[in-house]
Symmetry: C2
Subunit: 142 residues, 2 copies
DNA sequence: TATAGTTTTATAATAATTCTAATTTAAGGA
DNA sequence: TCCTTAAATTAGAATTATTATAAAACTATA
């Protein structure tokens, strides 16, 4: 099954109105594991969908992450990225190239700390220099 | 010892030039555990220091976190907050009131995943509804 | 106290995201 | 299939957080 058909199926299953932008954007996230920003999603889709607007990409990613169908990741530089993989995992942010990489990492039992709090999701983000940038000498202070 | 004297001492120790804005801002972070943004730091300090500029707060917090004297936290809404506590701990972000709370949480051995990567820091951020907002009924969908 | 280099300041510029109001669309019922 | 209604999309303006710039002020050292 292709990504757009899968997106349509998952939207129906979640009882979310199926629209062209939602299918396109959700399908894109299901088939690209690159943690794109809204801008990047928009740039990738607009050539084949000239009427798509950037505002819709913001609206749709917002809706999808609210509904738990995709994951929102806030990078240390403050930009928001989206991830079609919803199983728990962590991210590694390269301070040089600013890319996000997946890392395995178990979920924790962190929250006896704040009794009464309702935990919706948890994000683990490491910062540093990815193998490529580190080997190019882009390490902190020397 | 008061916070500004402590800030001065720590700056000297780290071999960082001691300036008025640095002492003020670092001192503020050492004595306030509220995870303020640059804007909040600026607003708190400007009354008693009218010549201080917001740009300096950005410059100084940048410098301090680069040098590891304070911790930078990027909240899920993309805003950057600073924390004078540098020991490892996690944060809980309330989706309603947008405050950050400290949570205990051990550091992990996450990084066998990316051989060759240089890890600089690690951030664990949970999202949800804090006890106060949750009890006021601000839970997700119902 | 003079100097050199760094930091700060004020302001302008940029980038990411949100808001607004008009238009279009999806889904269910006649 | 056509109508209706609420919801979603669009384009563009507005807002917010942050970064850049260039001149003035300050720190540390000689």
């Amino acid at each position: 099954m292709n990504a757009e058909a899968e997106a349509t199926r998952l939207l129906r299953e979640a009882d979310i109105r199926v629209t062209v932008p939602r299918v396109l954007i959700f399908g894109y996230l299901l088939s690209h594991k690159t943690h794109p920003t809204c801008e990047q999603i928009y740039n990738s889709l607009k050539a084949s969908n000239p009427t798509l607007s950037l505002a819709s990409v913001y609206n749709v990613t917002d809706k999808l992450s609210e509904e738990g169908l995709v994951k929102q990741i806030t990078a240390p530089d403050g930009t928001r990225h989206y991830d079609g993989i919803t199983e728990f995992h962590g991210h590694f942010y390269c301070l040089d190239c600013r890319n996000l990489f997946d890392i395995n990492c178990k979920d924790h039992e962190l929250f006896e700390e704040l009794p009464g709090a309702v935990v919706v999701s948890c994000e683990v983000t490491a910062r540093g220099y990815c193998p490529k940038c580190a080997s190019a000498g882009k390490k902190p202070r020397g």
